[in-house]
């Protein structure tokens, strides 16, 4: 019986996503003008990672039940 790698992947991506979203909401918009063409890439990509993390966790849970 091997463990389900989707669990740690889900947890890590959720954690990184939450950090990026949190920082994206609190950071100065100036850094996005300098770097990412005005797009708040932390908020945007953090959101994507949160969704991906939750999806992985959902797949892990679905298998267990």
């Amino acid at each position: 019986m091997s463990f389900d790698i989707r669990l740690p992947i889900g947890l890590l991506f959720l954690a990184i996503g939450v950090i990026l979203v949190g920082y994206g909401l609190s950071s100065d918009a100036e850094i996005y003008r300098v770097h990412s063409l005005g797009t708040n890439i932390n908020l945007l990509w953090g959101g994507v990672l949160v969704v991906f993390g939750l999806l992985m966790l959902a797949l892990t849970l679905r298998k267990k039940t």
Partner: protein
């Protein structure tokens, strides 16, 4: 560069998870089979993603970006010609013998099929090659950490000179890989490789998206660069009319056949992932699943280099290799970038302190900086942490792939075969764990050796040409021609490797000095580029091994047919796969992926 608290938090989280997976895997690592073969318990999709990651070292992520900037989209040949067909081939045709023979390693298959000396030769050369690969990966990471000034603040705080960052990066990264392989063995490495795969995608996808937005999409790239940089097949008829400096025959035979099949079909670092799969069906699907994803990787790792070159061309008003002379219709977003330093800087001559120019007056660019500078330009604090984590992940997966393969080959094919034959499973498990230390220590030494080379990819191709190219002829003949004998295989292998060395010694790439780059015997022929020389070295090595193996086999006594059952195509019952759905069967899935690669070639012709 200043890393914020968020960046460090993301990197620290990643390291925590990597170690945790190592510890989790160690709880299930009790026997040699667990440590070296992951207990043959890995599902196909996990093995497939690990198959990609193990090959995706830092040298690939940085090197492919650098090659993308140096040679353009033709770099994608390393995927669409130089990887996908071979990955399909091993899944459909070769995996039944690797997995079905119950060999624990690729060299061990050679012992079962041929004899001890063939195994020994392959095991030793392979062990040397894994050490080099892992050292190069380590060097790439350490150099990158120096360039990005990631460790400068903590190094300064400790009162050490800035050069200590290079050494600290090598030691720290090696220690983490050491820990999770020591604990979890192949299982720890494979499960981490899956995590690392997702991180690499997560770190690079937004970079490509922002980069494309900045340059004005694919059309924006085409507006800045000459057509041979955006068309993979244009100018391939002659070496002088394409950026690679290779003709189509050298490309298709050298890269697409010899180097590609030599690497993807015989390299144990790759094959080991599939051999860890939980069933024959899963083992055969592993490389095909990997190929279905791998064919899209040029967009992730090569495109950043092309974007960087386009932005550089725009900033330098077309005065870089590959740029159109006077770009028309420069968009306003691109023009903004021109006020900053170019993404790919001009190399500075360390003696005179002046920018370097080539014989045609074009500036010489430092392509290895393309990807790191893209990260710095487009990622603010936060995303930068994720981007660095992706680089770290690629480095660790590549290194772990080498170290796990080294452990197995060292323990089973060298230690058990020649040093201590009869010992308990516990003893070999301990030897494998200790080999992790030895392998990593040697990799560190190789990393310092790698500082002597400029383009990392070219050096890697050179090493592969010497060692891998002849090996594929041996496996091919061994699996598909029952008359091949052990003496034939061994003499063929030795002659193939010797032929590679002699060819390298007699030829030189244009503009290079005799020595490390070739021509150390005498210069009989000059190739238009180092890549062309490497490809033809491989062709010569393979051909020599193929012909000599056949000739010597015919002169020596054939193996008894009953000893070859399960090892040779004609003496093994055909596998009729009925357990999985029709779309998951290797032949069908393989053809679909192959068609996909063909379509990509046509789209970017």
């Amino acid at each position: 560069m200043h890393l914020g608290f968020v960046d460090w938090a993301i990197i620290a989280l990643y390291l925590l998870f990597v170690l945790a997976i190592g510890i989790l895997a160690s709880r299930r690592t009790k026997t040699g089979s667990d440590f070296f073969l992951a207990g043959r318990s890995i599902p196909a999709w996990v093995a497939g993603l690990a198959f990609i990651s193990a090959n995706l070292g830092a040298q690939e992520v940085i090197g492919m970006g650098a090659s993308g900037a140096k040679y353009g989209i033709a770099t994608a040949h390393f995927y669409w010609v130089g990887a996908i067909p071979a990955m399909i081939f091993i899944g459909i045709f070769m995996m039944p013998f690797y997995y079905g023979s119950k060999a624990r390693s690729a060299p061990e298959y050679l012992r079962m099929r041929f004899d001890e000396k063939t195994r020994g030769f392959n095991a030793i050369t392979f062990a040397v090659m894994t050490i080099f690969s892992s050292g190069i990966s380590m060097y790439a990471l350490a150099k990158l950490i120096g360039i990005l000034h990631v460790l400068d603040a903590p190094i300064h705080a400790m009162g050490l000179p800035p050069s200590a960052a290079f050494h600290a990066a090598i030691i720290l990264s090696a220690a983490v890989v050491l820990a999770y392989i020591y604990l979890g063995g192949l299982k720890g490495a494979i499960y981490n490789e899956v995590l690392q795969f997702f991180l690499i995608v997560a770190g690079f996808a937004p970079l490509v998206w922002l980069g494309l937005k900045s340059v004005g999409g694919w059309d924006g790239i085409k507006a800045q660069l000459v057509p041979t940089y955006t068309h993979a097949w244009q100018g391939m008829a002659h070496a002088s009319t394409n950026p690679l400096g290779v003709d189509w025959f050298g490309l298709v035979m050298g890269l697409g056949f010899v180097l590609s099949f030599g690497y993807w079909c015989t390299d144990f670092l790759i094959v080991q992932r599939a051999m860890a799969a939980d069933s024959m069906g899963a083992a055969r699907r592993t490389p095909i699943i990997a190929a279905s994803i791998k064919m899209f990787f040029p967009f992730l790792v090569i495109l950043p280099g092309l974007i960087a070159l386009s932005l550089t061309a725009s900033a330098m008003k077309g005065h870089v290799p590959g740029a159109v002379a006077h770009p028309a219709g420069v968009s306003s977003t691109v023009a903004q970038g021109s006020a900053e330093a170019p993404l790919i800087p001009v190399k500075i001559d360390s003696a005179s302190g002046k920018p370097m120019v080539d014989s045609t007056g074009q500036p010489v660019l430092d392509y290895d900086l393309a990807v790191p500078n893209m990260l710095l330009k487009f990622f603010p604090t936060g995303m930068l942490g994720l981007g660095l984590t992706a680089l770290l992940a690629s480095f660790m997966s590549g290194m772990a792939g080498n170290v796990t393969a080294f452990n197995t080959v060292w323990t089973y094919d060298i230690y058990q075969a020649y040093i201590r034959k009869e010992a308990s499973d516990d003893h070999y498990l301990l030897v494998g764990r200790l080999a992790t230390f030895g392998g990593i220590a040697l990799s560190v030494a190789a990393a310092y050796l790698a500082t002597r080379f400029n383009n990392i990819m070219d050096m890697l191709q050179l090493v592969f040409a010497f060692i891998n190219a002849p090996v594929f002829a041996t496996f091919l003949l061994g699996m598909f021609w029952k008359r091949t004998t052990g003496h034939g295989a061994f003499v063929g292998l030795v002659c193939g490797t010797a032929a590679a060395a002699i060819h390298h010694g007699l030829t030189l790439p244009a503009g290079a000095l005799a020595g490390f780059k070739g021509g150390w015997i005498s210069v009989l022929h000059t190739y238009p580029s180092e890549m062309a020389q490497n490809f033809y070295t491989a062709i010569v090595a393979w051909s020599a091994c193929f012909v000599i193996t056949i000739a010597v086999s015919l002169m020596t006594k054939a193996h008894a047919e009953k000893d070859l059952e399960g090892l040779v195509y004609s003496l093994t019952p055909k596998i009729t796969e009925t357990t999985s759905a029709w779309y998951a069967r290797p032949v069908f899935a393989g053809l679909v992926v192959l068609t996909g690669a063909l379509i990509l070639n046509i789209l970017f012709r």
